[in-house]
Every structure is written in C-alpha cells, then in structure tokens.
C-alpha cells in the first residue's frame, strides 16, 4: 500500500494556516478500480468495498471482490501499555471517588498523592518498555519500543512540571527548589561525571576532559556544594582566584520559607551579595582564569554568560533552574514565564519540538495551549485525558473559548469521552473504557449504552458480566437487550429451555410469550414438553406473559397426571380451559386432554365443568378435526349424564 500525504483545508481555530491531516492510501486491488464504497464499523474501524461489483457467471471471478477492514493502530493496546491503561484506570477511579466524597473539602494532599501515583505508573511503564527493548530482537519492534519510551519520557517530564506548578501547594509559592529538583531529575547532565570525580577524589581532576563542563553544569543546576567540592579537586584550588570563587559560592544566601526572614529582607541580602560578586567580576581579578570568571558571571545572572554556554546543552530547560536561581530566586509560580522566554530565546536554535512548546506554555500558564499540544502526543489521548482531569479537579484548568465562555468542563468531558470510547473498542478492555464513560454523565452513559449493546456476546458468562457492568451504572435496558437477543438466538436454534430462561431474565414479555408458543407447538407436534425442569420451578417469573403462564400451568397438569393425581389434574385443567388464555392452536390439544379424564371410572368433572367445556368446544368447533370433536362431544355428554344425575339429589335437598 502506498502512502502519500497532502494538505487539505482543515483550519485550526483562529489562525488560518493549513495543517496536514490527511493521508492517501493507494489500494492496488483491481476490484477497487471502478469506484470504492466505504462504511463505518464500530469504533474507529471502517470497511471499504468495491462499489461496482464485477458480477460474472463464472464463480472464479468472485475472488477478486474484496472487502477491506481498516482500523487505526492503537498504541495503548500494546501488551505493555495495557498495563498502563489498567493501572491508571485504578488511580483515575480513586480520584473520581475522592472528588465525589469530599465536594467542598480541601483535598490537595490527596490529589498530590494521586498525581504522584500517576507518575509512578508512567515510570513503571517506561521501565517495562526499557526491559522489553533490551530483550527485543526484531528491528521494527525496537523502533516502536524506542518511540514509546520517548513519548512517555516526555509525558512524565511534562506531568512532573505540571505537578509542581499546579497540583502541589508550595509553601510561600517559592518555586525554585522544586524547579531545580525537576531539572536535576529529568536532565541529569554531568551528574555521573561529577559523582565519578568526587569518588576518585584526586587532586588535579581538571585533567579530566569534562571537568569544567561538569563544574559549570553543577552551578547551572544549582548544586553549589557539589561545584565547590569539585573546585577543591583542582590542583590550583589553593590559589587566590579559587578561594575567591569558593568564598562567593559559599556565602550565597539561600532563601528558605522557614528561615525566619521575610522575602524583602532576603532580597536585600541577596542583592548585596550579588553586587559584591559583580564588583569582583568587574575588577577583573579573575582574568587569568576564564572558567572561574564564567562561573562568577553565571552566578550574578549575566544573560550573555548563560547564552555562551547554551550550545553545550541540548535544550533550554537544562538552564532554566540555574537561570531562575541566579536572577530571581524569589520567583513565584506565575513569574516563571519571563525566565522561560529568556532561556528559550538563548542561542540561535529555534525551540521547535513539541516538548519545548508544551513546557513554554506550561510556564506561561497557558493551559489551553498545553492541552492543545499534549493532545498531539501519539499516546491515543491517555496523557491529555488524565492530566486535564486531575487539573480540572484541582481547579487549575481554566479554558475559555473564542467568546470567552468557560468551556473547561466541556473540554475535560470531551477528552474523557473520547478516551473511554477508544478503550471500549478493545475486546478485553471494554470494562475499563466503560468506567471512563460512566464518570461523564449524561453523555457518557448514552455512549456506553450504544457501545455495550454492540459488544459481541458468545457465552452466557460474558453476557452476565456485560449485564452486571451495565447494571452497575444503571443501564438496565442493556441487560434486557442482551438477554432478548440471546433468547432469540436460542429459540431460532430450537433450544426452548434456554430461550425461555433468557427471555424471562430479560423481562421480555413478548419474547417469552413467543417462546412459550413455540414450546406448545412443539408439544402439539411431538407430544413431549420441552424444559419441564424449568417450568415446574419457575415461580413468579411465569407471570410476565399469559402464554408462558399457561405453559407453566399446563406443565404442572402433566406432572399431576403422571403422578396419578387425577382429581387435582382435572381441576387444573378446567381452570386452564375457563381462563381462556390458551392460544387458539392449542384448544384442540387442551380439550382432548380432558378425554381420558372424562372417560375414567370415577367422574372427575362436575356437570358445571362439563357445560363449560361444551361451550368452549362449540365456540371453537371450526378449529377442530370433525372426528375428534364428535369423540369429545360424546365423552362430554356421557360425563354430563352421570354427573348430572349424581349431583341432582344434592341440589334438590338444598
């Protein structure tokens, strides 16, 4: 299949730049030459078929007509990512439960815990992918795994920053320590070299190729102590220049919310310290040691100094922590955007990657853009869904549309609905998808209803599970539908018992009636009743339909007759006759059943009963075989003759 891309006129939002969103597939099969038809199947599957079929007399040509089923490849259905789907489902549901149970309470501690849980799930997933990559042998597998790893690395990186900026409540809103931690965690440049050098603890470590890069890297990461320790390893560390830098680094004031001084006070001390450092730089005492001078220029927050080392890093995030630390360590969450744009603007490289754009938007607090960017990550919406949900519940997601309407909830819901619908497509994961849809009423439940009805059901066990899940969310009609369909399937195959039990389960009166009718017809043909075990034990369930009730009672009549409880049987029979609920075709059988009882030695029916039966016989005479009707009339008359006489004296005595 050849794939070419072309741009179509899909226009995104306000800016009118066309975005390439369409792919063209060339299908080589001959049968599609004359025109192609297309039809949606469930979920994101569709089928294409030749519009003009080549109908020919020779059956050979039929082979050429093909129907192609086409579906979108879903990365989340990869066995390793299925673990992520299932595990995060648990966290998602705990989050919904938490929010439901504490509507007004402040639950940011719990939300933070859940956010960390999500991140640890992503970490486990990356670990699993890494393991699989190490074991992988097939080339394309390796490429896929590698790309999944890249995706989830950036997912975790974005989530972590999001957690710091929006989910966590930072004391005093002084974000720097968290930001530094984030940088160290995700961009651990030079860390290994630093550890190696410190472990070796040799004087003259500057002979190591990466010595200066490492020292500067540690400064930029805000790890002043490590940088100082490394400087001590330099063979010139006893010189004045080194001592001066060490002293400057050591005396750097560090702000702590619990330190007992106000931000104002701290700012004054810090500015004073930086002014001192600046004086040292301008006095050119360090001119002989350009690297030390660079360090000093960095710690006084000189933009050009940061710019000069930008090229040694792959991204601008590496420098963000250091830049904030040495320019405005008192920055609050919402003040980071200036630092971000300063860092991103360094160097000539345009910041083009998705991760770049997302992190910029995140630091600028443009949540709309953040969600927009992460929706394009090829993880089938897993990240966008879960992140926007937790941000929404933290009250940190505010998205306005073109007309300044608040569409936050609609955005969150639509993401969850999309994700739930996608997951529900999978044969095994449908119940996971269902739980997402159910958390977004009312539309989610409507979707769930439609999708549940379309789940293929092969066994009763699956049917019971689907119905139980549907009932859990109050979708009782699904259960009725499922059992009705199963009942239909069973009755079409002539399994009356199974059909009846399914119909009764589904509460489908009409269906149950038809099944009962079929059972009675079966009896008329073969003379044996199907499913007596069911009918004799079915209690109130029989009441849903008259024909079914009739069948049940008729079955009981047979049981009594077999057990030779003739008098009781006769009574039941007469009540069946007089209740007139028997279907038309069954009257003949029903009345003929009275024949042996009429002919028994002892009279089983009273005169009144006999009159009733005669009436029924005459009213329905046209349904009867003439010979049988005559036989019945005779029996009825003879019974009347003996009962009328036997009962007469009693009546006259009254």
């Amino acid at each position: 299949m050849n794939i070419t891309t072309f741009s179509n006129n899909n226009v995104r939002g306000d800016d009118s730049s066309p975005i390439i969103r369409a792919k063209t597939f060339n299908i080589p099969e001959k049968c599609f030459n004359k025109g192609v038809g297309c039809a949606w199947r469930s979920g994101n599957k569709f089928s294409i078929y030749p519009r003009s079929q080549t109908v020919s007399k020779t059956p050979k040509n039929d082979v050429e007509n093909k129907i192609l089923n086409i579906r979108h490849e879903i990365v989340l259905f990869h066995p390793i990512l299925r673990k992520l789907v299932n595990e995060s489902n648990g966290t998602y549901l705990s989050l919904q439960k938490l929010v439901d149970s504490s509507k007004n309470n402040d639950n940011h501690v719990e939300l933070l815990k859940l956010s960390r849980q999500y991140r640890s799930i992503i970490r486990v997933c990356i670990e699993n992918l890494q393991e699989a990559l190490n074991d992988a042998k097939d080339g394309s597998d390796m490429i896929n795994l590698q790309s999944y790893i890249t995706i989830f690395y950036s997912v975790e990186c974005i989530w972590h920053l999001c957690e710091i900026l929006y989910i966590d409540k930072i004391p005093g809103d002084i974000v720097l320590p968290y930001l530094l931690e984030w940088v160290r965690f995700h961009f651990p440049c030079h860390e290994q070299t630093a550890a190696q050098l410190l472990e070796a603890c040799e004087r003259g470590s500057e002979d190591h190729d990466d010595y200066w890069d490492t020292v500067i890297g540690m400064v930029v990461q805000g790890r002043v102590d490590v940088a100082r320790a490394l400087l001590k390893l330099n063979s010139l560390s006893e010189t004045n220049e080194f001592k001066l830098v060490d002293n400057s680094l050591r005396s750097m004031p560090v702000y702590s919310i619990y330190g007992g001084i106000s931000t104002g006070e701290f700012t004054v001390t810090w500015k004073h310290w930086q002014a001192e450092c600046r004086a040292k730089v301008t006095s050119r005492v360090l001119a002989s040691q350009p690297k030390l001078e660079l360090i000093m220029r960095l710690i006084i927050g000189e933009y050009s100094a940061f710019e000069s080392i930008r090229s040694t890093y792959t991204s601008w995030f590496d420098m963000l922590g250091g830049y904030v630390m040495f320019t405005a360590p008192w920055s609050r969450t919402h003040e980071l955007s200036a630092a971000a744009s300063a860092c991103a603007g360094m160097g000539s490289m345009p910041s083009g990657s998705r991760l770049d754009r997302t992190l910029r938007a995140l630091l600028e607090g443009d949540m709309h853009q953040v969600i927009h960017e992460i929706q394009h990550i090829t993880d089938n919406g897993w990240f966008a869904t879960h992140l926007s949900d937790i941000l929404y519940h933290c009250g940190k997601l505010k998205v306005l549309d073109k007309h300044q309407n608040n569409v936050t909830q609609r955005l969150r819901d639509s993401l969850i609905l999309e994700y739930g619908t996608l997951i529900m497509e999978h044969k095994s994961l449908w119940s996971v998808g269902l739980s997402y849809l159910a958390s977004c009423p009312p539309e989610g439940l409507c979707r769930a209803h439609l999708l549940l009805e379309r789940i293929p059901i092969n066994t009763h066990a699956k049917a019971m599970r689907v119905v139980a899940e549907a009932n859990k969310y109050g979708l009782l009609e699904v259960g009725e539908g499922v059992w009705r369909v199963l009942s239909g399937r069973h009755s079409a195959a002539g399994r009356d018992g199974a059909a009846l039990s399914a119909a009764v389960r589904g509460g489908a009166a009409g269906r149950a009636g038809r099944c009962a009718g079929a059972a009675l017809r079966h009896y008329c043909r073969t003379g044996c009743l199907p499913a007596p075990d069911l009918l004799l034990t079915a209690g109130p369930a029989l009441l849903i339909d008259d024909t079914l009730l009739f069948l049940g009672k008729y079955c009981e009549f047979h049981r009594m007759y077999k057990n030779k409880e003739f008098r009781k049987a006769a009574q039941l029979l007469i009540s069946l006759i007089t209740s007139k609920i028997a279907p038309d075709f069954f009257w003949e059988t029903l009345l003929l059943d009275a024949l042996p009882l009429l002919e028994s030695d002892e009279a089983m029916f009273t005169a009144d009963d006999t009159y009733d039966m005669m009436l029924c016989l005459e009213l329905r005479a046209q349904n009867f075989n003439r010979e049988k009707a005559e036989l019945l009339r005779l029996a009825l008359l003879r019974n009347l003759a003996r009962t009328a006489l036997a009962e007469k004296p009693e009546e006259s005595t009254q």
Binding site: L93, V432, A461, L534
Partner: protein
C-alpha cells in the same frame, strides 16, 4: 453485615499481566514452598494458560514478582482449571473443549503437554457452545456446558464414561463432586440438582432452588470435612448453605457480596475459614466457627445452625476498595492468589489461618 478491617499486617502485591485472568491456581509442590502458579485468561483476542513463578528481580531484594515461564494458547476463554493429579490439570474452554494438560514435574519452563483433548465436548449440534466449568475427583472429571449436559470423563483413560444429556434445559454454570458417585450442578436460574451417577436414568436424585430471584448459581463447593454441607454462590452475591441430610431448603441464605460470587474456597488447612471473591471486587475471609459450633445434634453430630442474626458473622475484607471484578482465588497456607478483570494478579500474604 460487619466488616472488620482488622489491622493485620496483610500484604497485597499486584502485578499487571495484560490479560483478564479468569482462573488462578497454585501448582502444588511436595517438599518445598509453592512458588509456581497457573493462570487462565478470558475475553481476549488470544487467551493463554500461563505458568508463572515468583522471582526476586535482584538477589538481595525480598519482594518477589511473577515471571511467565511458559504460555499455552487456547482458542477461547479459559472457564475452569482444576488439578486431576499432582501435575495434570483439567481445563474447560468456552469453545466447548475440555483438555487435560501436563505440567512438567522437573522443569516448569517446558511447554504444557496435551494429554487428552475432547474437541467440542459440549456443543449445540454443529454450533459451538461453552464448556462452563468442571470438577475433578480422583482422576475423574465432570464437565458441564451451556448445552445443559453433564459429561463424566476418565482422566486416566481419556474416555467419556457417561453423558447426562439434557441434564438441564438451561445452561449449567457450576458443578461439584459430592462423592465419587454423586455430583451437584447449578444452572443459570439458580436451580440446583443432585445427580446419582450410578442411576441408569437421566433424572436428578434431588433438585432445589438457590433463591427465588432466578439468578445463576455461579459456584458450588462442599465442606472439606463435612461433605454433606454444601455452599452455593449466586450471581446476586448471596451465599446459600445447605445441610443435605436435613432438607432441600437452605439452612441459611446470606446476602453477602454486592456482585456475583465468582469463587469460594475453604482454607485447605483450616476448614473453619471460607474465602470468597466477587464480581464487585471484594475478597472476603469468613470465620465459619459461629455457624458450626453452636449446637450438637441428637446423635452428637455437628448441626449447622440457621443464621438468625447475620451480624454475628465474622468477615474480614482482604482487598480494600477494588473497582473491577475479582474472578478467581486460590489459597495456600498464608498466601492467597487472586485473578482480576483489571488484568492483574494479586498475591496476598500473611493471612492468619
């Protein structure tokens, strides 16, 4: 009913396995602690019977994680796994097949070997029909299916010894051997029947209803030391207890779980302890002492008392807030394995018994 979340040091460890697990079974060991177990999956494109072992990732680490040793693909859902002998399992599959597979005694990594296979043992003529469950007794196997038939198979000779055709007009969902010549079955309507296998005619020796709600009897077991005591779990989540010597009405009908009971097991070492798991995601540990201890009958036999006050039941919940169905459990000493619909296997350690 009271749920005592006692602060025992119960340790729960979950592992995601990328398949919904319908059955879990420990593989018994003779002289060592059991390390290996089996899982059977359901509701997936390709279902597997997998042999696992618990292994620590690093040598010094104490926590052990399951690692798959060998996988045996089956055509449809695995509906039941039971041991016929020490290293042989009988498996029922929802395409109607019943198989006997052998686990190598020496190396668990060896692929499972098929000893016998009854293709489409349960069927609707030419159409497929699910073999819903089976039970084993000294090498014999009794299997049931949606066709309502009961098949008695010989696990040694690989023959079908007997078929009770149309044992039920509805689909059968649970079966249990009461003794070598007697099985008890439960159908989709909660109709329980006892079959005497010596009898020539295909008629139940006794039959009774689980409850009036017409819901399926999803599992049946009998008490290990008092085989006349039979317990059945219902799709509604209730558990019924019968004393087969007394009458056909349940001595007690406890509305227990909020979703269908999926599996019940008496603790192999302590028959006073019952473990149940359910579609509603609960795993409960019942103390049955209150039921048995209460009185002795006239001939000095233990009589199971009808429960008047359900609050006296001692039940511990072993699985805190779980949102998906728990399908299976298997207990061995202080450890319980659990298979769930969230595609995970759970190991619960430090159970007191």
């Amino acid at each position: 009913m009271t749920h005592l979340y006692t602060k025992m040091s119960i340790d729960i460890q979950g592992t995601f396995v990328s398949q919904k697990i319908n059955k879990v079974r420990w593989i018994p060991e003779d002289y060592a602690e059991t390390k290996c177990f089996l899982t059977g999956s359901w509701d997936d494109e390709v279902n597997l019977i997998t042999v696992w072992t618990f292994e620590s990732v690093n040598e010094d680490e104490e926590v052990e994680y399951p690692r798959a040793l060998t996988k045996y693909p089956v055509d449809d859902d695995v509906t039941q796994i039971k041991f016929t002998e020490k290293n042989k399992i009988a498996v029922s599959i929802s395409n109607g097949d019943v198989k006997i597979l052998e686990i190598s005694a020496y190396d668990k990594q060896t692929p499972l070997k098929e000893i016998f296979s009854w293709k489409s043992l349960h069927n609707y003529g030419n159409t497929k029909c699910s073999a819903t469950s089976l039970d084993t007794y000294e090498g014999d196997i009794a299997s049931i299916g949606e066709d309502g038939n009961v098949n008695i198979l010989s696990g040694r000779r690989g023959e079908v010894n007997r078929t009770i055709k149309g044992a039920d007009s509805c689909s059968l969902h649970s079966i249990c051997y009461l003794k070598h010549t007697e099985v008890i079955t439960g159908n989709i309507r909660g109709h329980i029947k006892i079959w005497d296998l010596r009898s020539e005619v295909d008629k139940p020796a006794a039959s009774f209803l689980l409850a009036g709600d017409e819901l399926a009897a999803t599992c049946i077991i009998n008490h290990p030391t008092q085989p006349h005591i039979v317990l059945a779990g219902s799709e509604s989540g209730s558990v019924a207890i019968w004393d087969l010597r007394m009458n056909t009405f349940p001595t007690s009908l406890l509305s227990a779980h909020t979703g269908g009971v999926t599996e019940m097991q008496f603790h192999p070492e302590n028959p006073q302890k019952l473990l149940t798991c359910a579609v509603s995601g609960e795993l409960w540990d019942w103390n049955m002492e209150t039921i048995t201890k209460s009185t002795k009958g006239p001939d000095n036999q233990l009589v199971w008392m009808p429960l008047q006050d359900k609050n006296t039941m001692m039940i511990n919940s072993l699985m805190p807030s779980f949102h998906q169905a728990l399908n299976s459990l298997d207990c061995e000493k202080g450890r319980i394995l659990c298979g769930a619909d969230n595609e995970a296997v759970y190991l619960i350690k430090n159970l007191k018994y």
